[in-house]
């Protein structure tokens, strides 16, 4: 590798303990569809970085939220770019998770001993959708408000526990500033942390079990 890395490696020996994973053999009949998972992960990294940058100017309050989003988009240098990157990466993240799932399904990589990794993967997908739903409210404009109104009302139609669950998610019977703060917290703290932990498990299992050659 490069000079800089060699300098670092000669002092901290970061390469040696990971040799097993760097130099592991990969089945010969792979194609580019096996990249979908990695692409989705790259989008996750971009989402984390652009989200961190957005959180510096975003204000999660009933009065300030919309104003701060307008400020990010119009006033702050490259704010429109960071916001755009976050928005498009979110869509592409979901799309590539779906493509990845299709690839895994087609190549039958979900079969034993990899059942649990399928479960973890679908959990990540569900949490990613939840991240999308909670993030959609944060601009606090008309579209965001009514989308959340509809979304939380749909939860309310679940038999027996529906209403209580709806109040629990929205922090009340209707979408208010409380909902905004709840969704903000979920979107930037709870859900990314959960995805991070599950991704670590997901990759760890792949490293342990290797890439499926069951096809």
């Amino acid at each position: 590798m490069g000079k800089l890395f060699d300098w670092f490696d000669s002092r901290f020996a970061v390469k040696a303990p990971h040799r097993r994973f760097f130099e592991r053999s990969i089945p010969p009949n792979l194609n580019y569809t096996y990249c979908f998972g990695g692409i989705a992960f790259t989008y996750f990294l971009i989402l984390v970085l652009s989200g961190l940058l957005l959180s510096i100017f975003y204000v999660p309050s009933e009065k300030e939220a919309y104003k701060s989003v307008v400020m990010i988009t119009n006033d702050i240098p490259f704010g429109w770019l960071i916001r755009g990157v976050h928005k498009w990466s979110a869509s592409l993240f979901i799309i590539f998770i779906i493509l990845h799932a299709i690839r895994v399904f087609v190549s039958k990589a979900y079969r034993p001993p990899r059942e649990l990794n399928w479960v973890i993967g679908t959990s990540i997908f569900v949490i990613a959708m939840a991240s999308g739903f909670t993030g959609y409210l944060l601009p606090w404009d008309q579209k965001a408000y009514w989308a959340t109104e509809v979304g939380t009302s749909m939860v309310g139609t679940i038999p027996l526990i529906g209403k209580s669950l709806m109040y629990m998610i929205g922090g009340g019977s209707e979408v208010t500033g409380t909902t905004l703060i709840r969704f903000f917290s979920l979107h930037v703290l709870f859900l990314p942390l959960m995805i991070g932990i599950l991704l670590w498990l997901h990759f760890h299992i792949v490293k342990r079990q290797g890439i499926s050659t069951n096809l």
Binding site: L53, I76, P77, F78, G79, I82
Partner: protein, 147 residues
């Protein structure tokens, strides 16, 4: 160029182009509005209330960006004329008070002490007390405040 070297170059170019995003991120994070501080002339009191000789504490208020700010200042009069001392200790910015018995300024936070000229007598303060511009116009005392 073989395939391996070509791919190596592509990867290097990719990481090099990442530096471009660093420029974008820095210009995104750099504050767009940095307010320059300017010297304001604030009315403190009338000349007749000033001490004939010695140090007295005066409170004053003024509007800063639509907000009412209240603070105080120590004004000294002697043979040399008027001197205004900022009430902030030069150590960490606690508010000092004037002890008229020992004739010295005392900062309660870390025991900093200044004499009536504002010079450090004891404690951790690194510099003498800050002096503020002061002037009398038509019997009114004005203080120069950076805000």
């Amino acid at each position: 160029m073989d395939r391996r070297n070509f791919l190596k170059r592509v990867v290097k170019l990719f990481f090099l182009s990442l530096n471009l995003s660093l420029i974008i991120i820095i210009s995104y994070l750099y504050p767009s509005k940095i307010k320059q501080k300017r010297l304001l002339n604030i009315y403190v009191t009338d000349e007749e209330f000033l001490p004939k000789k010695g140090i007295k504490r005066f409170e004053y208020s003024f509007d800063k960006d639509g907000e009412r700010v209240t603070n105080f200042v120590f004004i000294k009069r002697d043979e040399e004329g008027l001197t205004a001392f900022s009430p902030f200790c030069t150590h960490l910015g606690c508010l000092i008070r004037w002890n008229n018995i020992h004739k010295e300024f005392i900062c309660a936070c870390h025991g900093g002490r200044f004499d009536k000229e504002g010079n450090v007598i004891a404690g951790p303060p690194p510099r003498p007390l800050e002096r503020m511009p002061i002037e009398i116009k038509d019997g009114k005392v004005f203080l120069g405040i950076k805000a």
